[in-house]
Symmetry: C2
Amino acid sequence: MDYYGKYFSRLIEQFGKLPGIGYKSARRLAFHVISMPEAEVEEFARAIMEAKKNTGYCKECFTITDEEICPICASTKREPTTIMVVEETKDLVAYEKTGRYQGLYHVLGGVISPMLGIGPGDIRTKELFTRLRQREVQEIILATGSTVEGEATAIYLSKLLKPIGVKVTRIANGVPVGGDLEYVDEMTLTRALEGRTEI
Amino acid sequence: MDYYGKYFSRLIEQFGKLPGIGYKSARRLAFHVISMPEAEVEEFARAIMEAKKNTGYCKECFTITDEEICPICASTKREPTTIMVVEETKDLVAYEKTGRYQGLYHVLGGVISPMLGIGPGDIRTKELFTRLRQREVQEIILATGSTVEGEATAIYLSKLLKPIGVKVTRIANGVPVGGDLEYVDEMTLTRALEGRTEI
């Protein structure tokens, strides 16, 4: 039996389709929506439609943007001979927030994961090589995550990139700043030791 | 700086306004929305608008419904002289799923909570007494939760209801069916002992 009425039940169902939202969360969200003022509900529904209609990927670096070419790729202030390869737009954002990187990016849109059936053809590797043919690039910084998949993707790319003659680097592993050694895992400690620099 | 473009950022912001959704969850949901087929996104946005427009509260028992009078109140098969008082529609649903209750309901829409500044006037107590004046009721079952607020609300209501001459009952506390005594708290064990019945 439909205890909440057709429209409310349909909204629970729709929320429940979103990742990480179970039935109880979906019901809580639906309950919240019907208690919101009508103008806010309209704004929410419009935001969903407009984001879908107007958001796409930068034709150069494939970050999420609502323009043909994202503001970073379009900027004349960035250093165009360095490209940092990241998994997702959120990783690009993380580096942008540091304010310390002036080059361009390339957003793969995922990592190679044989477990999930994601091969090199499912992420934007081909597009990266197209960019390298079209413009002069001196350094590629591989900044995929330090997960098994992120590492494998970095190794895969480095093997293809090195023969081209471009400098290929990988972001460092080590102890997080402010991190107490006691709580850092052994693999990270080992990498931090291997990557030690003279002071 | 707006790293995701105006429309995507606005969607993250909108999702972030929902209860229990932090910035990272909001971003994950927004990312999911733009990767959904356009028809599904439209269906989602429509479900939000339609639920808001068409969902209201039953004029009798105040459960969530898209009709004037909910199917339970409108049914001729229910026992109209018994009313179970619950906090929210989801509690009504929980009892409906047992299939063992044939009376009507009254949904308070909350519980008395001095901590949160919710008094008797903020939940549907007045509406309950209006119903009692309009129709013959023999028993009121207080089925608010076994929380401090749920108990306080039940005590408050019982004090007002008893002088009317209606039978007032409270659902039992006890050991959950299938529950191992070892894991049941002391208060519940005490209530289970007090509420023991002859077999």
